[in-house]
Symmetry: C2
Amino acid sequence: VDEFDLIKEYFSPLENGTHEVVVGNGDDAAIINMPAGKSIALSVDTLVEGVHFLSDAPARMVGYRAAAINFSDMAAMGATPCYALLSLTIPSNCDKWLRDFSLGLGECFREYDCSLIGGDTTRGPLTISLTIIGAVSGRQLTRARAQIGDCILVSGTLGDARAALDILNKPSIGVEEKFLVNRYERPIARTRLSVSLLGVANSAIDVSDGLLADLGHVATASKVGINVYVDTLPISTSLESIYGEDKAREFALSGGDDYEVIYAIPETFLDEAHLMANKTGTRLTQIGIVTAGSEVRCFTKGGKEIFSSSKGFSHF
Amino acid sequence: VDEFDLIKEYFSPLENGTHEVVVGNGDDAAIINMPAGKSIALSVDTLVEGVHFLSDAPARMVGYRAAAINFSDMAAMGATPCYALLSLTIPSNCDKWLRDFSLGLGECFREYDCSLIGGDTTRGPLTISLTIIGAVSGRQLTRARAQIGDCILVSGTLGDARAALDILNKPSIGVEEKFLVNRYERPIARTRLSVSLLGVANSAIDVSDGLLADLGHVATASKVGINVYVDTLPISTSLESIYGEDKAREFALSGGDDYEVIYAIPETFLDEAHLMANKTGTRLTQIGIVTAGSEVRCFTKGGKEIFSSSKGFSHF
């Protein structure tokens, strides 16, 4: 059996989901219908072996994570993933890798009810390119509509994934460390919360580059400034107990890969936002405010400025 | 300037087109609307340097061709390309390659009114992954609906691209050879003809693997046999004048990369099909017929069988 047959075997079951597929895998193109009245959200993410994941990374984890970080892009727009196309570039003799990868991918696809409807397989250096087709209604959550006076809130906790990158090099790990590693390996796309905040939030972005960097993207796109109050950052007890307050805060501000979503929400909608967070079982924390200007700035409880986009960090 | 800025500069102008883009390049996902009442066609094609194109292939040609062969997949479904996502994996120092590639891609995108709305850029071995989002109405042209008694027709001429692969190795080439090379480097996606044959053709596929191989895909998917009459194959005068009748026929049967479209059309619709071909200025030639059975078989004018899927070629 060659890899191309294996792919059929491993990936065809992922053409599941409850969406309307007119023509699925195996023709020149897939044909789908979208729910009436919805706009279509599209994103693609490519992961290259040796750049985005190590050669010895468990393939099942790589598969789950590849799907989850794509779904997070959808969540950051207020969109729900529906369909996916998978383009795999694979070297020879990667049967076991393919099987494990498909298991991880499938697990995440089932959790988010996303259906794999097509793709392409080619020979070459291991590269995974995943295109997600999602549905979104009403006012989308772009980066560009944060308004002066909006509150900045973030889902979940920050800095855990950055800590995981340190921990992954350790020979043996404990329970708290395992929690942090899991936060890196199995990001949670904040689909339900984000969809429920359509019409409530003005703007959203997911934390992939790091909180300060991603807030910078919002500030630039929305032409506003953003003040962050570092004492309010949501830090997991695992992160703080292992790394201490200062390091935890540093990871929360600059570490990437958390895939939590940052929202800009008008003060009048704060109660509604927290209600939605409770309903979806998601921690939601206010960490700052949108201001005039163009900089992201960080302040301590005492009002001391410890960071600005133009000057970087001052020691704290 | 790093490549990631260059990509913004080179590829943003390709966000052209006349389609409705709600949120374009630069956010977490692109948001589009589709024409009301249309289904959505989706396909992805990945090209790897050293596998699908040579390192010294002109980047502008690679760009044009990458777009055209994707549009051909759409045409083979009766779909019109609307939007595209481009995922580029690039090594360092490929500024000139990127500029030339974007020029070729842009040229083809403008010809087919397709808009580049997003993508992803990563570091790694040069790989191009292009996702096309198209619109299709009515009954799609799948591979699976050819009926016994249908006529098999093909657009354009066959075998030219195969000849081009030989010619590309030559140090200098003449006018006829240039025609053949052009057929390889700038495939024509048969969008207009295919769309006009929706409701007329039962089935369609584009010739990427080679006529016999691709007819085999139709036979398998439709659970039918197909007889091909080799004396009717459309051969360009350039191909025949350089290679002679026998070699030209061999290229037409087995060579790939022509990206012409094969249609299965009921005899009652033949006149209408030829009318549409005239209207769109496309050569359309009947080359065979759909039969009971499961094999693709080739016959000469004299009725001699020279090929069958199960036995391969007999010398002719």
